[in-house]
Amino acid sequence: MKHSVKIAAVGVVFAGTAVLADPVAPTEVAYGDYGEVETSLTGTPGDPAAGEIIMVDRGKGNCIACHQVTALEQYPFHGEVGPTLDGVADRWTESDLRGLVANAKMVFPDTMMPAFYKSEGYIRPGDGYTGSAAEEPLEPILEAQEVEDVVAYLMTLNEAN
């Protein structure tokens, strides 16, 4: 129910099925009381293999800039700024992880972790890494489906892995 209400609210046109609906806009993401996001941003299940690439790509998530991940050891240089993501799927639910990737500040208000699915409310927003100004709304750092892919990858990081 929540899902269809939200889609109606942002005026999305259905193309046959809900799965093909436009993604939830960054400004429309519904965060729960603990920063979790229950509903998929796209309705299309995330692809963990695509998520893995985003995790290590410097121009995308670059998550290993700050986090150590044993399963990603073949990619060099893991940072020490955030906690290890090993076993993260045992500590958090899929909804929690979606919220953490979309905007970790909803979970940890002062965290250093950037919001990956946010488009406005920045101080001196820039045009990528050019140093020039950019007008809000910005393109979020990750697209909706990329967030889903990363979440799907994180869900593979349980104790068994």
Binding site: M112, Y122, P125, G126
Partner: protein, 279 residues
């Protein structure tokens, strides 16, 4: 023998650990001792110890700074010595005409940025150099981060090497200092990162392949192996702000002057090191 002090200390520590580099002492040319660790100044209550960026560099990079023949930045100091003694501009004066030998300027670098009473403003070394050029030499000002300017800053730093940074933080600079402090803690850009996020909360941590330092400026200008030239303080600030996916401030802007004063004050007690060597 040249690197005796450095190698001796390194030799005692475990060969591979990051600690090995961090316990090393910097002694330049075998006799000039550099303070790379000092108690944090009183106004900086968020840190107990301040450290030079030199501490976090690899052993190879550290060693380049221990001898002036190995330090690629020293070539530019020689260029600046020539410029120092060359008359330019309508007044037909050189820096030497007013100031004598560059060595006479020992003690200048540690107290900049500082308040200029006549102008009623906080001045960086670059601003002061350009003021001399314009009003005394009647010459064209240099670009704020131009090669000529950075070289001259390297000369000014080199004759003060080993002296403790000691910028004034009270009296007329208080307002500028407060503005600089505010900028230091502002989370800029799409990554919403402040200087403090990286250089206060996470120094000595790796962020991807970069080993974060405290972002001190006692070593400026720095020769970076990455771009093979001397880099000005404001160029480094621009790079760091750009890397937060923010619109940067320009070199010489009031914002960066304020930030420079504040960041310099965080390093009060570290030695002047410039021109230093970094990766």
């Amino acid at each position: 023998m040249k690197h005796y002090a450095l190698s001796a200390v390194l030799g005692l520590a475990a060969a591979t650990s990051a600690l090995a580099q961090e316990e090393a002492q910097l002694v330049i040319n075998g006799d000039l001792e550099i303070t790379t660790r000092a108690p944090a100044p009183d106004h900086l209550d968020r840190l107990s110890e301040i450290t030079s960026g030199w501490v976090y560099r690899s052993r190879e990079t550290q060693e380049l700074q221990a001898d002036d023949f190995d330090n690629p930045g020293m070539i530019f100091v020689d260029d600046a010595r020539a410029a120092w003694a060359t008359a330019e501009g309508a007044a037909e004066q050189s820096c030497q005409s007013c100031h004598g030998d560059p060595e006479e300027m020992a003690g200048v670098r540690p107290v900049y940025p500082k308040w200029n009473e006549d102008a009623g403003e906080v001045r960086t070394l670059a601003m002061q150099v350009n003021d001399c050029r314009e009003t005394r030499m009647e010459a064209e000002p240099w670009g704020y981060t131009s090669g000529d300017m950075v070289n001259m800053e390297a000369l000014m730093a080199s004759v003060s090497r080993g002296m403790p940074i000691n910028v004034a933080i009270d009296g007329p600079v208080a307002e500028t200092l407060a503005k600089g402090e505010e900028l230091y803690y502002t989370r800029f850009g799409q990554l919403e990162l402040s200087c403090a996020n990286c250089h206060e909360d996470n120094y000595d941590n790796n962020i991807r392949s970069d080993h974060l330092s405290q972002g001190q400026i006692n070593g400026f200008p720095v020769y970076r192996l990455k771009n093979a030239r001397l880099n000005a303080t404001h160029s480094r600030f621009r790079g760091c702000v750009r890397d937060t996916r923010a619109e940067t401030f320009s070199a010489g802007s009031p914002e960066f002057v304020a930030l420079e004063l504040y960041v310099a004050s965080r390093g009060n007690g570290l030695s002047v090191e410039g021109p230093s060597v970094r990766n």
